[in-house]
């Protein structure tokens, strides 16, 4: 039994490596599907802005309200904008937004491609002379790589707005003072690792969703399984990537 699990694990890993190779090769192939890429950036990016706005805004409010009593105790209320901006931009924003996108985007891609598999649409594309990897996989993964960082930047901005809203409800502070306080503390060592991380998160979300959907078994049950498995796997990838990037960037920036 442990042997079978090990062999199945190795097969799965080999399939993922092959899938990645196929994705990478098809990026540079003739006949790039620009129209589909723009459609996917719209679906993945624009269609997620509602939930991202709400999440970012509430995140800022909650962080501010949670930290206010303790900061007040130490007379450090003026540090709240800085604390919110650094914690949201460096860590909480990218991870929370990536996890939300894993739930929304990776599951959507997994379910869509899996149902296309079940209803023979992927095979129909193949016999139509189209390249399904180029049309379905490359466009979706690249759209995630572009849109997840942009969504994160937007959510970070909304979190600062949320933090400001919570602050003015309980104190007297101008917008100029709040945002100057929040933004002057930031430097490239906060922004670059966060941006790099979100690009990797975008890749993980797109890749896992496409892999799970594209390689699902035939049968309607596989649609639900692919969606579910895409969310779980993408979420685990996000946590692992986060841990690795923090280690690597810390050793580069602070050594």
């Amino acid at each position: 039994m442990p042997n079978q699990i090990f062999t199945a694990g190795l097969h799965n890993m080999a399939d993922q490596v092959y899938f990645f190779k196929s994705f990478f090769r098809n990026i540079f192939k003739k006949g790039f599907e620009w129209e589909e890429l723009f459609r996917q950036t719209y679906l993945i990016g624009y269609k997620s802005t509602g939930i991202i706005t709400l999440t970012g805004f509430i995140l800022g409010i909650v962080l501010t309200l949670q930290s206010q009593p303790t900061m007040k105790e130490f007379g450090a209320e003026s540090y709240i904008p800085r604390m919110v901006s650094v914690s949201v931009i460096r860590e909480i924003g990218p991870v929370i937004i990536a996890l939300i996108c894993a739930g929304k985007v990776a599951s959507g891609i997994g379910a869509e491609l899996s149902s296309m598999n079940v209803t023979e649409q992927i095979e129909a594309m193949e016999v139509s002379g189209a390249n399904p990897v180029q049309f379905l996989v490359v466009t979706r993964i690249l759209a995630c790589i572009v849109m997840i960082p942009l969504l994160t930047i937007f959510a970070d901005a909304m979190a600062l707005v949320g933090g400001f809203t919570a602050t003015i409800l309980s104190g007297d502070i101008t917008a100029k003072l709040y945002f100057t306080n929040a933004l002057t503390i930031l430097d490239y060592s906060d922004l670059l690792p966060a941006l790099f991380k979100t690009i990797l998160f975008g890749f993980a979300i797109g890749f896992v969703g496409c892999f799970k959907g594209f390689t699902s078994n035939n049968g309607t049950a596989s649609v639900g399984l692919a969606a579910n498995s895409a969310v779980v796997t993408a979420s685990v990838w996000i946590i692992i990537i986060d841990a690795i990037v923090v280690q690597v960037t810390n050793s580069i920036l602070y050594s």
């Binding site: 649409q121 129909a124 594309m125 016999v127 139509s128 002379g129 189209a130």
Partner: protein
């Protein structure tokens, strides 16, 4: 003079895991011919045409389409070959996220590399008119009935004017009247587009309408071959049972 062989299948063997689906079938299809493949479920009919389209690779045997060995073709050559093939899937396999117009434009843009919007539009309308669906051009596949989906699938297959059309159970899941309509349409389109057809079906009226020649698959082997009439009056009780 005998017409050119466009499909040559010889000793085709295909297994999934330990289960052998095709155990060495052989047959040829000539240009302009309509060949119907009959057989019980699980005898490898769909597997056979998926091998012909290069969607599955056979384990043993040789499979030539237009004289080219499908298994030996590289990606680009296979793509070029598929431009000459049409495949009507059992479920019609319409792209759910696209309208009828976009479904039809998809192969036009990619197979025939047509970029001109006016030409795409006129070809879409022409093919939809030929299958009696010109009013459905802006509909989504979810808004079409079973018969309309099959017609639409046929329209998408025909729009690139393929030389060979592979039909995977074109009448499955349809009522008797619609089945007859689709069968007649298959024949009509074959005449209009001068295509060679391989039709997989369980539907005997469909076979009767469309077949120039019938092949019967049984337990992964080609059990009998002949015209509809010949097989219907066969001495073999099992073969006759298909036509009752």
């Amino acid at each position: 003079m005998e017409a050119e062989k466009v499909i040559e299948v010889e000793n085709l063997v295909k297994s999934f895991g330990t289960r052998e689906i095709l155990s060495g079938i052989s047959f040829n299809v000539h240009r302009g011919e309509n060949v119907v493949i009959l057989g019980k479920s699980g005898t490898g009919k769909s597997v056979t045409i998926k091998c012909i389209a290069g969607l599955l690779k056979q384990d043993e045997g040789s499979l030539k389409v237009f004289g080219e060995d499908v298994n030996e073709l590289d990606e680009d050559a296979l793509k070029a070959l598929r431009c000459r093939l049409g495949f009507l899937f059992q479920s019609a396999a319409l792209y759910d996220s696209m309208t009828v117009r976009e479904n039809l434009a998809f192969p036009l843009k990619r197979v025939l590399k047509i970029k001109d919007k006016a030409e795409i539009e006129s070809r879409c309308i022409e093919v939809l008119r030929s299958v009696g669906l010109e009013d459905a051009i802006d509909k989504m596949p979810a808004d079409l009935s079973g018969g309309m989906r099959k017609r639409m699938g046929l329209a998408r297959t025909l729009i690139v004017k393929p030389e060979i059309i592979l039909y995977d159970e074109p009448t499955t899941g349809l009522d008797t009247i619609t089945s007859k309509e689709i069968s007649s349409l298959v024949l009509e389109m074959q005449e209009q587009y001068d295509a060679t057809s391989v039709i997989i079906t369980h539907d005997i009226p469909c076979a009767k309408i469309t077949a120039d020649r019938v092949l019967i698959l049984h337990e992964g082997k080609c059990l009998a071959e002949g015209t509809y009439k010949e097989l219907e009056n066969s001495d073999n009780e099992f073969i006759r049972s298909f036509f009752k």
